[in-house]
Symmetry: C4
Subunit: 363 residues, 4 copies
């Protein structure tokens, strides 16, 4: 693939989008310290390449039983219709084109079923928020199971909506007429905070697994103790995330929470008896970042994946399905390249000795 310049891509997206929409996508909570820190945090690690391995990297792996061409997936993000008329459908097609997994947000502008149908052959997961009533939420979980999603992702870091400075300053509201496809009618323009409710507890993990008949991934876990509690409550995987720095400011970055989480779940088993999988997202902006992430997750016994938020946003905003595919292909190529340069044969070969903390960093 041609050289992927994410900075330039973001700059182009910024020109394309309305300022308030761009800020909604790009912004973070409070002082945006965690937003800024997320990419830097990957870079507080350094790679220790292996030589003379005579090998070229192959990115293919299997996530919760579904084969994918790359360990880089699409994180769930809301209201994709503001970025492109085809919204989630375009993202889905772009991801499918390059064999990447997409996680579809509850806050989508197309329904559970519509997005499922956009690329039925390729695996996707559905991300669940507590939506209006518990009943409606349970219904969404069931529909996700029926529609052929391969897993249900419970996002647990949004008991209340984060205080996003940019949105608060300009009192941001979703554009009139934006379709809230998974909301109960006629509430098609709810406030941004409508998805937030602090009611969920660990019991909900097993409950939604049962309701949907799908393996459950808990997204937004940043502590080892919580990760273990999630697995014991019925999760098949945990997803380390700060929600893109949009919820708690001054939160421990994914790049430093991940080692703790993988160490904690090392002895645990998923409900179906297989190894617990651990995923991560937040500030991954280069192939080398992703390789650091895979290596830091290496002590987990199950498969690993790295999810991308904003890079996909900019891809969709600037190029629709092709833009999404371009971003995923570009970063996957960078990752494969970094792996080959480090003598790493594939995702499972990215062992922990591949990274070292850059404790010497003077600035």
């Amino acid at each position: 693939p041609p050289y992927l310049d994410l900075d330039r891509l973001e700059a182009r997206a910024r020109e394309t989008l309305e300022a308030s929409v761009y800020d909604y996508y790009a912004g973070g909570a409070e002082s945006e310290t965690s937003l800024t820190e997320a990419p830097q945090a990957w870079r507080s690690w350094r790679l220790r390449p292996r030589v003379l391995r005579g090998t070229t990297a192959d990115l293919a792996t299997t996530l919760l039983g579904s084969p994918v061409a790359t360990p880089l997936g699409v994180a769930p993000w809301a209201y994709q219709g503001m970025a492109h008329p085809d919204g989630e459908l375009a993202t889905r097609r772009g991801a499918a084109e390059v064999g990447a997994l997409m996680t579809v947000s509850t806050s989508a502008n197309h329904t559970v079923e519509e997005v499922a149908a956009a690329a039925p052959a390729s695996p996707a997961w559905f991300q669940l928020y507590r939506q209006h009533s518990p009943e409606h939420t349970a219904d969404l979980a069931r529909r996700a199971g029926d529609a052929g999603y391969r897993a249900l992702v419970l996002t647990v870091d949004l008991p209340v909506l984060g205080r996003r400075r940019r949105d608060l300053r300009r009192d941001f509201a979703l554009p009139a007429g934006l379709r809230m496809a998974n909301h109960p009618a006629p509430d098609d323009r709810p406030p941004l905070s409508a998805n937030a409710h602090p009611s969920w507890t660990f019991d909900d993990v097993g409950r939604y697994a049962e309701l949907s008949g799908l393996p459950v991934v808990v997204k937004g876990v940043l502590r080892g103790d919580d990760a273990v509690a999630c697995v014991r409550a019925g999760a098949s995987a945990v997803w380390v995330s700060t929600h893109g720095g949009r919820q708690v400011d001054l939160v421990v970055p994914s790049a430093h929470a991940l080692p703790e989480v993988v160490d904690a779940v090392r002895g645990e088993t998923a409900p179906d008896g297989s190894d617990v999988e651990v995923y991560v997202d937040g500030g991954v902006r280069a192939g080398s970042d992703a390789l650091v992430a895979l290596a830091l997750g290496a002590r987990a016994l199950g498969a690993r994946a790295v999810f991308l938020g904003r890079p996909v946003v900019w891809g969709l905003a600037t190029g629709g399905a092709d833009g999404v595919a371009g971003v995923l292909a570009g970063l996957s190529a960078e990752l494969a390249h970094a792996m080959t340069l480090c003598g790493v044969a594939g995702p499972a070969d990215a062992t922990q000795d591949l990274v070292v903390r850059a404790g010497w960093l003077p600035r």
Copy 2:
């Protein structure tokens, strides 16, 4: 409450106040390294949020027996008449409006009794400096007890006045006619350093407790050994503070002295047999800073509180009592929000495992 933008508030206060008064309020000692470092120091810690706790935070707590609606209180600061005609009276009313505790400075422009009477139903503490003669000082302590204050705060980090660069450069003097309400007449425009005298020792702690009949808080403690000595000398609480970076420059910031102090007093008991309380101030500028502070103080067994200096100054200067209430309510809302996002039910639930040192910080 509406979005609180402290930077903008300070900018507005700067426009309102005379430059020399603004600098007196904003400035710090010598190179102002400690002034600048104080807020950064909270941000050298990171939060480790808990998920799936199904809880919403409640800020109410009890400080030395007085119930308050928020663990955020008003630190004592001098000469509030320069910021607003109603001075301490306005601050008192603003704090009472939102159920926050106010500490009233000796260097007030209204008397001990006048400030007490401004909001009699709501709890307040009186902060004592060694004022002119020991006799006059003892008298102030007695008057504080009589006027219904709930505690006496001995500020011990001012044996001599700090060398504040901005004030020294312009040879700052208090405005003519500013009423020194707690000074012995007719000395109503004493030099700024009149409150400073290096004579106090640990013996004074018990002595003022007796004189006032009030529990004594020692303010300005930064070492574990000193904290223990204060408690053994009769203090009910210690208040970790660098005096807003106005006294010793290059001093250990509160955010790094606090853990040592709470660990040291853990085994100690207040004169009335209850647990020692530990408070902190200095550079707290966001809800997340306050949550870090509460968590760092968690190993203390008694109640905890976080006090605010300059944010309240800017609130008073720009909006009088309403401005004070606005700052306290705004920061309390941020704190409650951060707590809910971290699965923390209230001040006492902010345990130490909630924070981790950001040792990875490259810059």
Copy 3:
């Protein structure tokens, strides 16, 4: 020698060279983080000078049996014909003039034999890439042995060409007509990536030693385990390098990989029974950097050397053979000076206690 101002030298080279060529020489992989970090990394160490040693430094040493006047050598770099019409011949003569060792790249614009003949009395090494076919590569190794080179340097950190942002952005190609002297005819303008092939394994080390009849140096090693594996596979020396930050971005810098490598090979023996030698390059820009490098390599029992890439590029581009000699003499003088100031008699006297990690660095 007169004062050597490397920054000014680079600025002059930048004016002289075409922008694309300058960028090819100066640039690094991906985000160029490792490129930038390399010189800083030496400066994350500090020197601990010895006093009252009554000694003046002498730089002479012996590398793989060849005496040299300075432990600073010329790292292999490609396509020197773009910097100066005489290319490698000029570099060779400049290095010989000051008694420094030159390593000649496979990607030279003069043949193995031509460069050998340019300064036959002075020692040189030949650096080998896998070139087109294994047969042609084997042939190059044999020719290097025949032409009188004293060692074969296998560069192993280029299984694929690094993604160099500047070159990718402008789609850089070598100038038409640039002579690929060691390529099989008529392929005289291959893409930059033609030297890269991920096929080499540890077995190749011994194989090329045999083919060439020369001691083998493995260049591009950054881990202790790999260093040991290289020696056990038949290497006489390992060369710690990040390839000038041109291959893996976010790689551990040489200044922090070196201690691990020397510790690892400490117990190992070269094929001829002598001590393993350890060399290093990357971001050395001052005599004090080189002294840090020698001290960090001190636990190796064999001889040590420090190689220079870009400083020599700028020397060649601005002054031909004289420019190369000037850079090598200038940095050697700085190194000797730093040694004398530190009470160090020569390269072998630069013990590890001479350096300490600057862990206190605030910025």
Copy 4:
């Protein structure tokens, strides 16, 4: 004393002096990294003030038997005639005025005896370089003893002159006619490097003690092992210094070498059976810096002192003897103030627990 603004003072000195002279005074070796780092290094420590000590600081102390009013002394610096017509005589008078010790450089523009006579009642030390011949140097040592100096300071960090970038760039030479008062005639305008000779060894320590009949201080020690060797060779005190960052660049700063040195000499005894004294200089620019230095030196059993170089240069250049007195009085006042604020009664009461490494510093 009035507020001392060192930055402003230096700015005024810069206006007063010729650019080349200013640069000679202000500059450092090579990249000037160590020059810049010296003051920052003190600030990588933080103070831990003690409260309720009821004490005001008294700066008086005794150095090698001579009582001084302040532990802040004047470091030896060369060619003071370029800063002020009265040169060393003015500095001497200024120091004596405030009871501070002056160390007089060999490279003075007035003779050993002239400077001695300028303030005969107040103690001074003579700093010795190896000057031209060993015989002439021995003669200087003897003359220093005869002239009533109280100690001989051997500066050992100048085996060769440091490479000072600014001077090298403009090929700086001393002004014609500047009197080299301690040089053998008629060589009155020797190159700057004439004082440098790498011949001294530890044996010279005892030899010069004998020749001069004075206690010997070894200046320029940065390692514990060297410090012990100096004492065992006959030194009564060691002086931790990087020569103002003018010799080795990237050297360990005084603020981090000092703890190692004091720990090493703790068990050692001076030739006369008394405790070894430890002094320090380099980048001390504020009272708090000096207090950190005294505290870091606390584990030495003998007296401690802190010397000032450039601040005195700027004082002399802008105000002659009064300027020198002003700088010494101003910084002493700052130091006394910082001590009182920290509950420290005097130099000997500045114990090591007064400081903590600011390991949290994010930037």
